[in-house]
Amino acid sequence: MAIYLRPASLKAALSTLAQASGKGRSAHPLTVLAGGTDIYPTRAGKQAWLESFPRDFLDITQIPQLRGIRRDGRAILIGAATTWTDIVAARLPPAFDALKQAALQIGGLQIQNRGTLGGNIVNASPAADGVPPLLALDAEVDIASVRGERSVPLASFIRGNRQTGLARDELVVAIRLPGHRASSRSLFLKLGARSHLVISIVSVAMLLDQGADGTIADIRITVGAASAVPTRLAALEAELRGERLDASLIERVTPGLFSVLTPLDDVRASSHYRRAAARILVRRALANFMEPQVEEVAA
């Protein structure tokens, strides 16, 4: 029968992982389990094919420092086992609005209560809704093992469809958001075949920082579900940076700037549609930032 380990400390978890991924008698691959919202359906899917899912699990949900959101200097650290609901409830600057909006659209509330940010990036689905907002925030991934700690940009951590740069003895400890301006705003737009509880056909995260003179000081645009890995549109960002934020910019969002995307034809949509929808969502996101800002007034 399967092994199910639930260490109470990070140290114990890392040494268990090291043992399990070493050579010799105690070696046996461990699957890290947090919310289980990706592992459970995978297991059910395998079972329908009469395929066993002989995984040994390392449950990391009892390790206190893996869950929660805290400051580390200028950076904000989100623990790997922090749930979507935790993120929605946290007080975070407007640059994190996109991440919160994504959190609210990942499954239903029960899934949001279970699913974790770390799981979302390690699962590395092309349609992971958490990834585009994080890429727009220039997220880094804090990784630990008994060999030491390292931090890598999320953009290079996810290497392909369901592929990451995580070694077998390593654990994602936190997602590090290295700094952002208080004036940065962000937005996440998701398009699916129904209003909710749906895998994205395409998604867009945009982070925008407008200078005092009305020009775009910084803009970061990421498209999800339209490539093997959610992709920053660097050429489009360069096109828009330094420009005044006004309606004429919408016309600058031209199809050529989306050529970096490699959308699939699949049951959810055609590649042609995905490419077109990505551009429309980006234009809408941009237009959204042009709308007058409404101050929240206490009742």
Binding site: G45, A48, L50, F53, A193, S195, S270, A276
Partner: protein, 740 residues
């Protein structure tokens, strides 16, 4: 006492349901209960060459693994496997032999002490196959499809006879429309998974709690399959968490649980997983061609309706797919053809209003297209083609208030404010579309037996073996009995869902409301007659000279209807007669008169708002006006229509079983990827019941379980056309279909 019939009475089983006191088939427990996990095939066609269960058997807690090689005896002839509603053919036999007829076919049952162990061990069973080429694509099987055979029985389904000279009429028509329409396979996804708990009683008898729409059908079927005596098997289904036709035929969970209980002489539960539910029936895919010919004034002159639907290789499932178009509109010339395409899938089956939502998607889309060609308002076209007769059988309708549905529905919707030109209506950046369609369904009644036991303290038990599949049968039975017995609702207790109760047909075809309510009326009359006899014997009885049809039961009294002051209390009558309990059981048969057609009708109006750039469709408003005879309970009836409309939205925009034809296997066999509407997809739905008097049965009930879904998908598709100018003839209307 106010009458209950026709009121918005809350469900009498509502509290039991929301508190969990209502137990479903997989919730009955006994000590020592074993759990079965089903192993299913991973190929679509061929045979098993090797089935290795040794690893599963070695798991601690596993009791046995049953396969075709070691199972106890089962019947070896088709007749034994024919249930009450089986289509023609050779029914599937679970775990019978090594043959694989469809993907996800059950091939082994792992029985263990816990469900977790059973499920784990099931993953260790290994199978080798000899595979044979399969076909699961209706378009690949279309050319080989064969016309359906005329049914053996007169109530069977067959395309209506052609009338007039359809070819000539089409050729000479001033305006013609011809189109091909497609509806994909849709799978049943009721909330409750199929499950059966079989209690192996100490005397060897079996008590079977099964999820089913017909306990007696399952009981007879199990007796046939296992050669058991009827008194040895009792089937119960007190509550059902949605079935919609998937539980009309006995499903394999019951066979497997009984098989294990007999083999092991233990109590066993088998519950299917959600993916395994895709091995049950489904609404068949349907490819249709419709040709309409009309005079310039909008009078329909010709209809040609051809359909190809999907069935399995071993049974021929079909309904009256093409018949609806002959029934709905006045048209002198018509012809029909219906072919079956055989696929290597399980047999298709009934799903809410089988054949009508798919057939009317084609017909009502085609009528909309004809209206466009005629430059006529789509509602006006329907009115010009309105039929006062069932032309398929050349007879009048028992009642047909469809005109009133059109009128009230259009008024509630505001149809007269519609600008007919496509793309002419907007709301901000969104395109607005208004579409409409008609629905028609059967108003059937079936033979049924009801037993009523009345006690002197004024409480009554009403018993019948029908099911309540969530529609509210418990409640309407209690309402009808309370009114007719003249007792408060809370004094009525309902017994149903038990094969030992008086006979009932399966709960399907929207026929139970009409059947059981009139069945109660018949039995109440027998109770009343017995009470009157007792009342007459009371000294100085004021009812001494009353005839049975001159008295009624009201407020606990037997009352002379001509003179309300002449009455005897039920309690007095029974006490004087020394009777503690009156029990009557009567069978009610529907009228044998088939000189009139009996149907329910609907007019559906839908508003869509469409994000023009990316094709996101919101169904912002639906008005459904229903002519369904007398409504017994406005609350449960409205719920039936609301749920139907939501399903219609799903049919229009979301539902589609996706099959990988290379593997012959459903790709989206789960409710994450098999899309149905979520709450956020459902907006304003208004249900209208128009007045419709029908004298086909004493209570004037027609049944409302199915009519609500019919016409919803074409109303939405027509609204999408009106909004965008784009006609989508294949469902579902996904976002990319609206994209240029």
């Amino acid at each position: 006492m106010a009458p209950y019939i026709g009121t918005a009475t809350s469900r009498i089983d509502g509290i039991a349901k929301v508190t969990g006191a209502a137990k479903y088939a997989a919730e009955f427990n006994v000590p020592g209960l074993l759990h079965g996990s089903v192993v299913t095939s991973t190929i679509a066609k061929g045979r098993i060459t090797r089935l290795d269960t040794s690893a599963a058997m070695r798991v601690k807690g596993v009791i046995d693994v049953l396969t075709h090689e070691n199972r106890p005896p089962m019947a070896d002839n088709d007749q034994a496997y024919k249930d009450d509603v089986a289509p023609p053919g050779s029914p599937f036999r679970p775990l019978y032999d090594d043959k694989i007829k469809f993907n996800l076919q059950p091939i082994a049952l792992v029985v263990a002490e816990t469900s977790e162990v059973a499920r784990f061990a099931a993953s260790l069973v290994t199978v080798e196959y000899e595979e044979v080429a399969h076909v699961t694509d209706i378009f690949a099987a279309r050319d080989a499809a064969v016309p359906i055979k005329p049914p053996a029985s007169p109530v069977g389904f067959t395309p209506p006879k052609a009338r007039g000279q359809p070819n000539r009429a089409l050729a000479r028509a001033a305006v013609r429309h011809e189109g091909e329409y497609y509806v994909p396979i849709e799978h049943h996804n009721p909330m409750e998974l199929y499950g059966a708990t079989v209690i192996h009683e100490s005397d060897g008898k079996l008590t079977v709690y099964d999820k089913t729409q017909g306990v007696q059908n399952v009981q007879r079927y199990l007796c046939g399959v296992f050669g058991m005596k009827p008194e040895g098997v009792r089937v119960l289904s007190p509550f059902v968490g949605g079935a919609f036709g998937s539980g009309l035929r006995p499903q394999f969970e019951a066979v497997l649980a009984v098989l294990a209980a007999r083999a092991l002489e233990r109590s066993v539960r088998v519950v299917l997983t959600r993916p395994q539910m895709y091995a049950l029936g489904y609404r068949p895919a349907m490819v249709q061609r419709i040709a309409l010919g009309a005079d310039a004034d909008g009078t329909l002159d010709a209809i040609a309706h051809d359909a190809v639907t999907a069935t399995s290789q071993f049974e021929e499932y079909f309904r009256q797919e093409t018949g609806w178009s002959g029934l709905l509109y006045k048209c002198a010339n018509a012809k029909y053809e219906h072919k079956l395409a055989r696929l290597d899938l399980p047999t298709s089956c009934d799903m809410r209003a089988p054949s009508a939502p798919t057939a009317l998607f084609a017909l009502e889309s085609a009528m909309d297209e004809l209206a466009v060609a005629l430059e006529l308002d789509p509602l006006e076209l329907r009115l010009r083609c309105y039929s006062e007769r069932d032309q398929n059988h050349d007879r009048p309708f028992s009642s047909k208030a469809l005109r009133e549905c059109y009128r009230q529905g259009a008024e509630a919707f505001g149809w007269n404010k519609r600008n007919g030109a496509p793309r002419s209506m907007r709301d901000g950046s969104e395109l607005v579309g208004w579409g409409m369609a008609t629905g028609i369904w059967e108003a059937l009644q079936m033979p049924i037996t009801v037993r009523i036991a009345l006690t002197a303290n004024g409480s009554a038990e009403v018993a019948c073996a029908t099911s309540d599949i969530g529609t509210g049968t418990y409640t309407i039975m209690a309402q009808v009995a309370a009114d007719m017995l003249g007792l408060p609702l809370e004094n009525i207790s309902i017994k149903l869902g038990d094969s030992t109760l008086p006979n009932s047909p399966v709960e399907g075809g929207s026929w139970i409301a009409a059947s059981v309510s009139n069945g109660i009326a018949t039995t109440v009359a027998a109770v009343r007659n017995e009470l009157l006899e007792l009342a007459k014997k009371v000294p100085n009885s004021p009812l001494a000279n009353a005839a049975p049809d001159e008295v009624k039961l009201a407020d606990g009294m037997i009352v002379d209807e001509r003179d309300g002051s002449r009455s005897v209390s039920i309690a007095d009558a029974m006490r004087h007669g020394g009777v503690e309990r009156i029990e009557q059981e009567e069978t009610t048969n529907p009228t044998a008169d088939d000189s009139r057609a009996r149907n329910t009708h609907s007019a559906v109006f839908a508003e869509v708002k469409i994000d023009e750039e990316i094709g996101v469709i919101r169904v912002t408003r639906v008005v459904s006006a229903i002519a369904g005879g007398r409504v017994l309970n406005t609350k449960t009836a409205s719920s039936q229509i609301l749920g139907s409309v939501v399903w219609g939205i799903g049919m229009a925009l979301h539902e589609e079983t996706l099959i990988d034809h290379k593997l012959g296997r459903v790709m989206n066999a789960n409710i994450a990827e098999y899309h149905v509407p979520v709450n956020a997809d459902v907006h304003d739905i208004k249900v209208i019941f128009v007045h419709e008097h029908d004298d086909s049965n004493p209570l004037g009930v027609k049944g409302l379980g199915e009519i609500g879904i019919i016409g919803v998908a074409p109303a939405i598709a027509n609204a999408v056309y009106h909004a965008t100018g784009k006609r989508v003839r294949d469902l579902p209307i996904t976002l990319d279909k609206l994209h240029p």
